[in-house]
């Protein structure tokens, strides 16, 4: 079973990974974006860690809802509302249960991913975070480790795609050949999840 502490540790682990990978994310965001993905997410997840320490939400749903709200208000780029919506909707779908099982979490995360697709209007293959998140949710039924592999493969598979959403889409064919920074940060988020689960 997964409790509030598990989700707090997931968010903290994500903050650590994002800080560690911020330069790589920003480097990926330089050729096809506006070179702020790493620093934006770093600021956002640092604020998430602080908010979770300050407020001490005591259910899985409350942890993720607070994390999502914090990202929306602190990131300043498109990744704020997108990751914010992902976590907030996932949190809301979890309701007020003190503990949830893996299957319930997988279902809730799917609700969150659906909400992100609706918000951004992105479909699989558009070279966005969805290309890492959807395979991860599909694999989450097997294990956290499978979800991590699926997200990483999904992020790598964005390289040959042409971007159809966001600033990268203005580059047309010139977006081909670059790994998508949003899919990469999504893979980091899912890797932190697997790490938190000890897988």
């Amino acid at each position: 079973m997964l409790d509030a502490d598990f989700f707090r540790r997931w968010m903290t682990a994500t903050a650590v990974s994002v800080e560690h990978e911020a330069e790589r994310l920003t480097a990926l965001d330089s050729p096809i974006g506006d070179a702020d993905h790493g620093s934006n997410l770093e600021r956002g997840f640092r604020a998430v860690t602080a908010a979770l320490e300050k407020d001490g939400p005591d259910t899985p749903g409350a942890v993720l809802t607070l994390a999502g709200r914090t990202l929306i208000s602190t990131v300043g780029g498109a990744s704020g509302p997108l990751y914010g919506t992902l976590l907030r909707r996932t949190g809301k779908a979890l309701g007020e249960a003190a503990e949830i099982d893996e299957r319930e979490f997988a279902q809730a995360l799917r609700t969150g991913v659906d909400a992100v697709m609706q918000l951004g209007g992105a479909a699989p293959g558009d070279k966005t975070m969805i290309d890492a998140l959807l395979p991860a949710v599909d694999a989450l039924g097997q294990s956290f480790a499978a979800a991590r592999s699926a997200a990483e493969e999904g992020a790598l598979a964005t390289t040959p795609l042409q971007a159809r959403k966001g600033r990268a889409s203005y580059l047309g064919e010139r977006s081909i050949g670059h790994q998508d920074p949003g899919a990469t940060s999504s893979a980091i988020l899912i890797a932190a999840l697997a790490e938190t689960a000890g897988e």
Partner: protein, 151 residues
Amino acid sequence: MSDLVSDPVDGETAAGDGAKLVGVVLVSHSAAVAASVAELATGLAGGGTLAPVAAAGGDGDGGLGTSSELISAAAATVDRGAGVAVLTDLGSAVLTVKALLAEGDELPPDTRLVDAPFVEGAVAAVVTASAGADLAAVEAAAAEAYTYRKV
């Protein structure tokens, strides 16, 4: 950031005493763009009653980006009880407003993201709102700016 929020002007009342005007919020990645478009739109709306207009530009720290705090504050500033029309430029500005709307309690009731070109839509929205039109009419006027082809 009050210097970036144009003074909301309460109606002197072409639309009648006690008329509730629709407020307009302009969200851009750039504080200068948002403030300038607000200036342009209020300037072109001209004399008489002027609907309240507020700019919410940049990331709040002087950089390019979107600040949900600035957007919420701007919407509260222009809310006169007749609804608030929000116009945005690109990317995170659009997504942040949508996320705030989905949040439920971050923006005044009857706040709408209006699908319109930023500059032309802002002028149409402010002129229409200043004439005392309701939120649906303001939205329609701003959206109609898409149909005006330049070539």
